[in-house]
Amino acid sequence: MEETNKMNETTKKEEQTSTQKIGIYLWIWLLLFVLSFFSYMVDWYQFQGMLRWSLILFFMFLKAGLIMAFFMHLFWERYALVNVLLWPMTAIACFIFLMTAEFKYTLFSRFFYFVVGGA
């Protein structure tokens, strides 16, 4: 019991000293505003096709990365935590891949049976 209390003490002491400079938060904040403005501009100027989609994804991942790395402090966390959080995302990527194949098949069947009229 005393051992655990001692550990909590050290944990707290370490957390107190680990605050970041205010500048980094303000910069990330500003950057998030600018990136959001840019992604709004993608719609404002009505970019279409691959340009639109790649710009949307680019700004989205950049914003998500900045929020996770700096606002959620993942940049300063130990790898044991960071890796536990990020590797499961590959499962989501797999799911997206599977469902992409699935919606293409559904779309094909709907065209085939509803529009063309079947075989």
Binding site: T19, I22, D43, M60, F71, M72, Y79, V84, T106, L107
Partner: protein
């Protein structure tokens, strides 16, 4: 991290540190408060919930043979008779990012034991979140007046309504819960619960400003989810 001292145990950086942390016989997340680790695990599971929603939206939108409604027009607001595309959504995005920034600063000031500054910033965050929910209520009622229903709408593919109400509704629910907790923690900070070491939620452990960081993690996650909803639902 160097202040961590466990008998004959040295914390290594990088992947070597990950291997030794994971293989160690004590806590795996060294120097991470248990509440923070649990919040991260919760956020990970919540990520999967929102991913399933967005993936089902992708599947639904991709497989319909009717044109998807043009979100640029559906979500436009008329300012002086001129339709401005996605105006309300853009304002909502900026409000949420503003509240995320104030939350990040609140966490910083909390750890520096700056009670007043921390409290005001959490209050600002709560007000931002409340503004966001208010604008979402306005957006919902506008679309419902225009005839958007979960089973159909006048603009295009009938799946649009169900995905819209489910995804933005679930996100709005998260924001609402967050706002409630932000107000509670505004009170806790101003009342000095972390100076007097008052006990926290459902625990005998003494309250500490790390709770503000845990609250912050949840709030940033809400902002993070909005980044994806904004990209995939409104802009795509």
């Amino acid at each position: 991290m160097s202040e961590q001292k466990i008998d004959g145990f040295e914390l290594k950086p990088g992947f070597k540190g990950m291997a030794s942390d994971t293989g160690s016989d004590q806590t795996m997340f060294k120097g991470v408060h248990w509440g923070k680790a649990m919040m991260w695990i919760f956020l990970l599971s919540d990520t999967f919930v929102f991913s399933c929603f967005l993936i089902s939206y992708m599947k639904g939108r991709g497989s319909t043979i009717v044109d998807w409604p043009n979100t640029s027009e559906v979500f436009s607001l008329h300012v002086g008779g001129v339709p401005v595309p996605l105006l309300l959504i853009a304002i909502m995005t900026f409000v949420l990012i503003t509240s995320s920034g104030t939350m990040a600063l609140a966490v910083k000031y909390g750890y520096e034991k700056n009670r007043k500054m921390c409290g005001w910033l959490i209050l600002a965050t709560a007000v931002g979140g409340l503004t966001f929910v208010g604008m979402q209520v306005f957006e919902w009622s506008k679309l419902i007046h225009e005839g958007v229903r979960p089973w159909g709408n006048p603009f295009g593919a009938s799946q649009f309504g169900s995905f819209f109400f489910m995804i933005t509704g679930f996100h709005g629910f998260h924001v609402s819960i967050g706002v409630i907790f932000l107000f509670i923690y505004t009170y806790k900070v101003f009342a000095g619960h972390y100076e007097s070491k008052k006990r926290g939620w459902f625990t005998k452990m003494k309250g500490d400003y790390v709770e503000i960081e845990i609250l912050g993690l949840y709030w940033h996650f809400v902002d993070l989810v909005w980044v994806f909803i904004f990209a995939f639902f409104y802009l795509w």
